[in-house]
């Protein structure tokens, strides 16, 4: 799985979390607060209005996760339609979470504070 997340703003550091569940795929997710997203040919673009940060989501899968993005289904439910392995979707979710685009509905993770990861 080589999905990637890129940003057009500087100083964007990856968030680190200590996850206390076996697989992110089991969780229900939603867009993080202040984040909007729209589809593009290559996947999607997300914008965090609070951090004023654009993120390119270069993944054909991302556009096919509407139920997941609305928090109405667990990622596992979306798996069959995507043709992804569980590990691939797990990896994608981790990247989106790290980038502050998605967040789980359930309290399963504690952020680990990291110096120097504030964005503009």
């Amino acid at each position: 799985m080589t999905g990637s997340v890129a940003s057009t703003e500087s100083g964007v550091g990856e968030r680190r979390f200590r996850v206390t569940c076996d697989s992110l795929v089991e969780l229900r997710w939603r867009l993080a607060p202040h984040v909007q997203m729209r589809s593009e040919r290559f996947g999607a673009i997300a914008y965090n209005s609070r951090e004023q940060r654009l993120t390119l989501l270069h993944s054909s899968a991302i556009g096919h996760l509407p139920g997941l993005l609305l928090g109405v289904s667990a990622a596992a439910v979306e798996l069959s339609a995507l043709g992804l392995t569980r590990e691939q979707l797990d990896d994608l979710l981790a990247q989106l979470w790290n980038a502050g685009i998605l967040e789980p509905l359930a309290e399963v993770a504690q952020p680990i504070a990291q110096p120097g990861t504030e964005s503009q």
């Binding site: 990637s4 500087s10 290559f42 270069h58 503009q120």
Partner: protein
């Protein structure tokens, strides 16, 4: 993280950086005004037309607008427009000279969900600023910044066009910004609008460009609107886009609804259509000019430069208005300073400082027509990029 360059080069379903100039009216007469503003045009879009346009922006998934002018607060429906945008969930960033930003206006701005105010200031002292923006403009800008701070508006910016006059004041400008809880934003002087008349006098020289580059590396919290990517040729890349986004991710709608590739390319060669005759989405997605720009390899003549992947030949507008070939290097190229002028320097066609009255909207060209000179783009091939990003 790297920018997914190819995806942006080919254009997006909607612009990322949409500048919307609401009016040409302005109560200042800055020497470097990119839109030669002064007097309003009788055909400027009214509130009803602006609301229709905002509905289109929402349907296109546009995240935010860069609102400018002229002085946008002089549009008779300024608050009606930005409050409607806010209600639609479209963020507003607007540039102002601050002269109308009183306490009441600041409080109204503070009540919006997302409104980012950029107060223009072109020097850390009245002497430097007022020489460009006019007598009294320095004090008025500081008054506006104080009103914003008092109203609790977060994240205001002091927006500076860096010139020979202000390059030595960067430390003072950072101090000034922090005094108001604001961020410093530095942008590049381009020879557009009235700046055509003072570009040579005000633009940074080679040593000053190097100083600025080092300064931006030292203080990455300074915002730049991706203005200075041509300086990447000096070494490590500055954050942000590293190629010209005109027509790819950048676009301008002017006060009468004409659509251009970039706020700094207000010229018939870069006019893509008019929202008076076509939907903005149609212009953005189908105009021949935009399709041409997205298909071009930027500054193909620079491709053999070893800094090309970081600079891509610099700013289209700066080349155009200094008479350089659009295939070649930026006139402020740090590797090839002194490129010969290759084509006649185009002049701006409008000066709203002295505007009397337009006879028509001047918006008759249909979408799909491009007045971009084929001479400028002929022979450019679409080469591929090296950093292919994988897919899942």
């Amino acid at each position: 993280m790297t920018i997914v360059r190819d995806a942006l080069m080919e254009g997006l379903s909607s612009p990322l950086c949409l500048t919307w100039e609401l009016t040409w009216a302005c109560n200042l007469s800055c020497r470097h005004c990119l839109s030669s503003s002064g007097k309003p045009d009788p055909l400027e879009l009214d509130l009803q037309a602006c609301r229709r346009l905002l509905d289109d922006f929402r349907d296109m998934g546009i995240f935010y607008l860069n609102i400018g002018g002229g002085e946008p607060m002089m549009h008779p429906s300024f608050f009606g427009i930005i409050e409607y945008a806010d209600a639609l969930g479209i963020g507003v960033k607007f540039s102002t000279n601050g002269t109308r930003l009183n306490r009441e206006a600041a409080q109204r701005i503070a009540s919006l969900h997302y409104c980012d105010v950029q107060v223009s200031l072109d020097g850390a002292t009245a002497a430097v600023n007022d020489a460009i923006r006019g007598a009294g403009s320095y004090e008025r800008a500081l008054w506006a910044l104080q009103n914003l701070a008092d109203a609790g508006v977060q994240g205001s910016k002091i927006s500076v066009v860096v010139t020979k006059g202000s390059i030595g004041q960067l430390d003072e400008l950072r101090t000034l910004a922090s005094r108001f809880g604001a961020q410093l934003r530095l942008t590049r002087l381009r020879p557009s609008g009235r700046a055509q008349d003072c570009y040579e006098e005000l633009a940074l020289d080679d040593a000053q460009q190097r100083y600025l580059y080092e300064y931006l590396l030292r203080y990455p919290e300074i915002q730049t609107a991706d203005s200075f990517f041509h300086l990447n040729a000096l070494g490590a890349s500055l954050p942000g886009l590293n190629f010209c986004g005109a027509g790819r991710v950048v676009c301008l709608i002017d006060p009468v609804g004409d659509v251009y590739a970039c706020p700094f390319t207000i010229h018939p060669d870069f006019r893509a259509g008019s929202v008076r005759t076509d939907r903005f989405a149609t212009i953005w997605r189908s105009a021949e000019l935009f399709r041409d720009l997205r298909a071009q390899t930027p500054a193909a003549g620079c491709q053999r430069c070893d800094a090309y992947s970081r600079c891509h030949g610099g700013c289209l507008a700066t080349k155009f208005f200094t008479g350089r070939s659009l295939f070649g290097a930026d006139p402020s190229c740090v590797r090839a300073v002194g490129n010969p002028v290759s084509v006649p320097v185009p002049r701006r066609l409008s000066d709203h400082t002295r505007l009397v009255r337009r006879g028509s909207a001047g918006s008759s060209a249909a979408v799909g027509q491009s007045s971009l000179s084929s001479r400028r783009f002929r022979g450019v091939d679409g080469s591929s990029w090296g950093d292919i990003v994988g897919d899942v």
